[in-house]
Symmetry: C2
Subunit: 332 residues, 2 copies
């Protein structure tokens, strides 16, 4: 039975939402097992009034939590018994363990994945890919969205390949379009890094459509947008904030409108549509690409649905042979 | 009499809106002169049914236009008689000429400013600063927003100083706050470039508040955000596109609402507010900082109000001794 390892700590709303999300997934999928890593007594107490298939839940005692205020490297010394450290160990050592979902400290997940799980591809560290909802309802894979701050052009070419494999496996797109984030669509536009990356990506065999600009990313016309982790992070946070501004404007109007009125309803629907388009974090996780198994980072703002969505995402990737596909694509 | 040089070509709506904007400014300011650079006959024909103070308008014949499809370097050979080339020549050579406003090819304005106008500060090329409207109604200066693709940390430190001077002169802010665009607020966050820039900016004497993230830029809580031209351009275009998405959602609702109804009015007001917040280009210009005189690039989508706003911006900067202030700040 394939096991999904869950680091229960790191969600702003507490470990309850994480366990709830795992239990929901367990109910919906009869062929999987869940391993919950965290303080055993806390988990047992939380589970005591829940109904679930106990044969498919394993609790692994890991009493410590790595908080977001701690340096990632505590995973190697002070916090070796943390839920995250233990979860990564199980993921690596247990043959049945196929994926790990953690809402914890991103930096700790990153360094833990590099040094405790290991890379499957010729990169020093994984790339972080986020699936962003677009204006037309489609998803775009933004890679890298925050793991690799300083990238060589060859890194961007590898991101292009990995992002393409991710979209193939995740969204059943046969030949995903790949764009390179730049400042103009023409081939010569960009900085030293992207100009060289442009040539390298052309040679990878991905369905490269050339440069794309900041205003192209969320149109839904491109499947994969490649950039370094600095630009990707800046863009993603900015877009989320812009959505919040629009929602704030609506909230200000709603305060003066009568609940239940037509105007109130229309504005509420508009607000919901903006939320679904611009709230990237509450609905899923970012995938670490290039590590030995499937590793998904849920956002700290995750609720139980988010956690269930992350495990679901891991299940799809697992069923499509994602890890092998990435390794094969980059070893050619 | 101080002269403002206007390159009439480059606006999507044609040279009429540029001339109209210049005439409006001329009427409102009795102490300035305007120099219109473009095809003499076209300008005379356009002016024939307008009323204006002819003593304060000079027409300089420059029949050629540099289009956006041409490489910027045509300013040095094929298009030496272009409106832009002639306008820059006058700006440089005429002692009374204080500023140039051009809606033309940005690359041509950039290379023209470097090689035909010259730098006043120890930088190889100017930085491009845009004033972006924020959610709270304030403006933030984003520097660089697209001129310098590959920046050394020392460039970012100079941008910090120049952006600070710009906000002091333009918006009468005594000690503008300056943030460095990065991926986290903590000092250690960022890439190699920003980490080193962080230390250099600390030493410049500007009111440095440290790193800011993609979601902080448009809050209105910071006066100047420093970044390289690649990240700045990506962020700016993304933010504009996000605003357009929200406006598109509203337009779709408006199609089914009765004009004049309360809902229609409320949504139209919301749309206008989003437009004023996210449409960066139609309302003003970007300033090239570090060149010998005041140089403002109006966006191609400019209308007559935009052009008048750009000349107005140049007037304020001129009255505050902006060019000298920049030079002084960077020579210390």
């Amino acid at each position: 039975m394939k096991k999904y390892i869950i680091d229960i700590y790191g969600a702003d709303k507490g470990y309850g939402v994480v366990i709830d999300g795992a239990l929901d997934t367990l109910k919906e999928n009869e062929d999987i097992g869940i391993v919950l890593c965290g303080d055993e007594e806390s988990i047992k107490t939380y589970l005591s009034d829940k109904s679930y298939d106990a044969n498919r839940i394993t609790i692994v005692h890991a009493p410590e939590e790595i908080t977001n205020h701690e340096p990632p490297t505590v995973i190697f010394d002070k916090k070796q018994n943390s839920s995250l450290a233990v979860a990564i160990k199980i993921l690596k050592e247990d043959e049945d363990a196929v994926a790990l979902v953690s809402p914890g400290n991103t930096g700790a997940v990153l360094v833990g994945s590099i040094f405790k799980l290991g890379m499957s591809v010729p990169l020093k560290q994984p790339a972080l890919a986020s699936m962003l909802p677009c204006a037309n309802g489609k998803l775009v894979c933004l890679i890298d969205c925050g793991a690799n701050m300083d990238c060589k052009p060859s890194h961007l070419a590898k991101f292009a390949v990995m992002g393409s494999v991710l979209m193939k496996c995740r969204s059943d797109i046969e030949n995903p379009t790949v764009g390179l984030l730049s400042v103009g669509r023409e081939e010569g536009k960009g900085n030293v890094q992207t100009k060289e990356a442009y040539n390298l990506i052309k040679e990878t065999g991905v369905n490269f459509i050339g440069n794309v600009e900041g205003n192209d990313v969320l149109t839904g016309d491109i499947d994969v947008v490649v950039c370094d982790g600095f630009s990707g992070n800046v863009l993603m946070k900015n877009a989320e904030a812009n959505g919040k501004v629009a929602m704030k404007f609506i909230d200000e109007i709603l305060e003066n409108e009568q609940q239940g009125s037509h105007t109130y309803q229309v504005l509420s629907q508009l607000r919901e549509r903006l939320f679904l388009t611009f709230d990237f974090n509450s609905r899923g996780g970012a995938t670490f690409l290039g590590v030995n198994k499937i590793l998904i980072k849920a956002h700290g703002s995750a609720n139980s649905k988010t956690i269930a969505a992350c495990i679901g995402q891991a299940r799809i990737l697992e069923s499509k042979g994602f890890s092998d596909a990435i390794q094969t694509a980059l070893s050619i």
